[in-house]
């Protein structure tokens, strides 16, 4: 990265501008009179916590959303279509979004993927020589030195990301939007993507870079726009502003101090993790968990939170390090044995890994221990209904019947059942990975209450979340996962959101 390329080239005219845009969803003001501009050759960082309005802003630029009021201009012309033609209009004017990992075919080559569906051909025959020559040029532009006939399956995650970017560049875009492009990458890998971003900008293309990693932003962005509650709060020079200042802008002044939690942690240590390493995300993680304690793990998307929980549970096998339960070392990679030790785990992606949508609430709850509702090997309808009703009542699940297919419930109620199955299984340690993701406000509050109640009963909970503001509401203690290891520790009631966020996004 050359320092000269960092200075925004003010000679460039604005590529895209949003003027006074407002967008209202039922119950939410997603975008509130936002005005935003980005110029060619500029890398603009876009910051804001979940729900701050970043996605809505991006969707305005791509034409996927139409503002209730205000205008969107791309390349000096206003987007006028009011229907599905709007997205095509924005696309034709040169707006592109780089999606992560979604659109590559692993079994095809780099060149084939680059031109997917638009292969250069003569009479239906693909012109491989021509295609591969073009691919070489396109990839060289981004610093990806790989043979064009390399299978995508053998590319590293960063190289795949570069390929996605290269594909977008083929359309000669004017504005490229990258949404957390490095979140799935290890630090060294991320450098490659950042170098590519700098190159794109040096060609006069405007870049919007959504990320919360301050070290990355400092390295490649000229300025950063901070959003909160649907509003553009400020656009700051990243060089001048310190992390605390940016965090203050992101979270606002309200920084509500959590009510003091009743700490029920006991002396007994249930779980201890020593120097756990799992490439490429975790280098050395150590902590302990006491009975009755709610331990929060904070960290950005891609910090390795899920990997940590999965290694503890034995879903993945760690490269190094030890997990001790009740002071005894456990063999890595034995998920079922962790369950029989009284552990329970709820995965981050509820739909893909959490529920069996066609089966009833009852079976989704009771699958952890069918024998608890069986009489001599036969499931008892009465016991099933009773056990399920208990869980439903305790966790305030809204469902018509105990056997309603869980797929028809709201996300919040599904999540409560996913947690409830471990309550039914009487687990003493619960590892919850983003339990409030995609859940409405009321259900969130109920889930917090459930977690506190479980702790009051002497159970322990590890609560992983990327939503900084919820950690002080639930946790007795919060550890920050960053750069593959656990850093700062915060203890209730002194869990300060600003400090927590700063610790998450800080770079070394």
């Amino acid at each position: 990265m050359t320092q000269t390329s960092l200075a925004p080239n003010l000679a460039h005219r604005p590529i895209a501008s949003i003027k006074g845009c407002t967008r209202r969803y039922p119950g939410v003001l997603a975008l509130d009179n936002a005005t935003f501009q980005v110029a060619g050759g500029e890398v603009r960082a876009l910051l804001g916590k979940n729900g701050a309005g970043k996605s809505t802003l991006i969707r305005m630029l791509t034409g996927a959303e139409i503002p209730d009021s205000g205008t969107v201009e791309v390349d000096g012309e206003e987007l006028l279509h009011a229907g599905s033609g709007r997205a095509q209009d924005a696309f034709d004017k040169g707006v592109r979004v780089v999606y992560q990992e979604l659109s590559l075919v692993p079994g095809m080559t780099l060149a084939e993927n680059l031109f997917l569906g638009r292969w250069p051909r003569k009479g239906g025959v693909i012109q491989y020589a021509e295609m591969e020559a073009q691919a070489c040029e396109a990839m060289g532009r981004l610093g990806l030195e790989r043979a064009p006939n390399t299978l995508v399956a053998s590319l590293s995650p960063a190289e795949r990301q570069l390929l996605e970017i290269a594909r977008v560049l083929l359309g000669k875009p004017k504005l490229v939007i990258l949404d957390e492009p490095t979140s799935s990458l290890a630090a060294a890998e991320a450098e490659k993507v950042m170098a590519a971003v700098t190159r794109i900008a040096s060609e006069g293309i405007a870049v919007i870079y959504v990320s919360h990693r301050m070290n990355e932003i400092r390295q490649i962005a000229h300025s950063a726009t901070v959003m909160r509650d649907g509003r553009i709060i400020d656009t700051v020079d990243v060089k001048g502003a310190d992390t605390r200042e940016i965090v203050r802008l992101m979270l606002g002044s309200e920084g509500s101090q959590a009510a003091a939690l009743e700490n029920r942690s006991q002396e007994k240590t249930l779980l201890e993790v020593r120097n756990l390493a799992l490439a490429p995300k975790l280098s050395s993680v150590s902590f302990h968990l006491k009975a009755g304690e709610v331990l929060g793990i904070a960290g950005l998307l891609g910090a390795g939170r899920t990997e940590l929980l999965q290694a503890i549970m034995g879903v993945r096998r760690q490269d190094q390090g030890e997990v001790l339960v009740d002071g005894k070392s456990v063999r890595p990679g034995h998920y079922k044995r962790m369950l029989s030790r009284g552990f329970g785990y709820t995965p981050e992606s509820r739909k893909e890994e959490g529920i069996v949508p066609l089966l009833g609430v009852d079976e989704n709850t009771l699958a952890t221990n069918f024998s608890g509702v069986s009489k001599s090997g036969v499931l008892s309808a009465k016991m099933m209904a009773e056990a399920t009703r208990k869980v439903i009542e305790r966790l305030h699940v809204k469902t018509a019947r105990t056997d309603t297919p869980i797929g028809t419930l709201s996300g919040g109620n599904q999540q409560k059942i996913v947690i409830g199955r471990w309550v039914y299984a009487n687990s003493r340690v619960l590892l919850l990975d983003e339990p409030t993701r995609g859940v409405d406000v009321e259900a969130k509050a109920q889930i917090y209450a459930i977690i506190r109640q479980l702790a009051a009963e002497g159970r322990s909970v590890i609560f992983v979340s990327s939503e900084i503001e919820e950690l002080p509401l639930v946790c007795d203690r919060v550890l920050v996962l960053r750069d593959g290891t656990l850093g700062e520790e915060f203890k209730s009631p002194n869990i300060d959101q600003d400090a927590l966020m700063a610790a998450c996004i800080a770079g070394h």
């Binding site: 079922k336 890994e353 959490g354 069986s374 309808a381 099933m384 019947r401 056997d403």
Partner: protein, 333 residues
């Protein structure tokens, strides 16, 4: 009623009693069977005769016994194409065992154990080595047929006189034992699929294997068990085949696997897993058997019969999918 309702948990309603839309699949199959009866009765001579009805039952048993296990396998999101050769291979094994003077009950038990073991090989390949079940059972399909043909030179292996086997082919009150065995196993499989942890785990694995694993269900063990059960059921079919033909026969049960899969799919079980019912398969078996029987009675050219059968199977499934879609959209609205 209450037992049945709790069992089909996800698909029945306690308050409103029997719900037509929830059983759309079974109802439309029932209608299809009635239509087939009406059509064949009016066009095919002797279709309704007692003898022919018994024939239908006996033919149904050949498909049905294997189809119960196949239903569980398909609900779990897997497939088993090894049924036909498995039945033929076991018939040969049993014939040899009897020729060697192994006592009949022991020979039966050995045949079933061998069937289960062979099935579990396919299951283990799927569960522990990630070989797709289609490929694992296709391998079995080829190897078993080949072995049986190789050791017998494609000639029947006669068993001589055997009272037990004769009894298995002697009708009880006019009903062939094969049909009774089929119905008994139907009851067992329907019960297991609805009322046991094993059965419900099969549905969970087919509906979302990852979630099932994370809930603590032994996904791999259940997959092996499913294929072992399928092997055992095919072995029972093989025993009945010997009782019917009086010999072990390496060329028998040709194409049975496709009749079985067709019956399960016509019965409304989803090939993508997670959804299906034993009752549906029972009706599917009847549809497939009726079509076969009726077309023969009508004296249609045997080659052309296959064309008609193919068409009827696809149309039946198509109509069923449409009916379910319609009833679901009505439910939502």
């Amino acid at each position: 009623m209450s037992l049945d309702q709790a069992a089909t948990s996800a698909s029945s309603s306690k308050k409103s009693g029997f719900s037509f839309s929830q059983h759309m699949n079974e109802l439309s199959l029932f209608v299809a069977i009635v239509v087939l009866y009406v059509v064949f009765t009016s066009t095919a001579n002797g279709f309704l005769s007692f003898n022919n009805q018994i024939n239908i039952l006996r033919d149904a048993a050949t498909i049905g016994i294997a189809a119960w296990a196949a239903t569980l396998i398909i609900i779990a999101g897997e497939i088993d194409v090894s049924v036909g050769p498995m039945v033929a291979f076991i018939s040969v094994v049993l014939a040899f065992l009897l020729q060697w003077g192994v006592p009949t009950p022991v020979a039966f038990a050995l045949s079933i154990v061998i069937g289960a073991l062979l099935g579990s090989i396919a299951g283990a390949l799927r569960a522990y080595f990630d070989v797709p079940s289609f490929v694992a059972t296709l391998g079995l399909w080829s190897a078993l047929r080949g072995t049986a043909l190789f050791v017998t030179d494609a000639l029947p292996v006669s068993i001589g006189r055997n009272d037990t086997l004769d009894a298995l082919d002697r009708s009880v009150l006019g009903i062939p034992p094969a049909a009774i065995i089929m119905l008994v196993f139907f009851a067992i499989f329907a019960f297991v699929s609805r009322k046991t942890a094993f059965g419900r785990s099969v549905f969970a694995i087919g509906g979302n294997a990852h979630a099932a694993f994370l809930s603590g269900i032994s996904v791999s063990k259940i997959r092996v068990a499913l294929f072992a059960i399928a092997g055992a059921m095919a072995a029972i079919s093989g025993i009945l085949l010997v009782s019917r033909l009086g010999s072990g026969n390496a060329t028998a049960a040709n194409g049975l696997e496709f009749d079985v899969i067709a019956a399960v799919v016509v019965g409304g079980t989803s090939l993508s897993g997670g959804r299906g019912s034993m009752l549906g398969t029972l009706l599917g078996v009847l549809v497939i058997t009726l079509i076969g029987n009726g077309l023969v009675l009508l004296g249609i050219n045997p080659f052309f019969q296959q064309v008609v059968r193919g068409l009827i199977i696809v149309i039946a499934v198509l109509a069923n999918i449409q009916a379910i879609k319609r009833s679901m959209s009505r439910n939502k609205g």
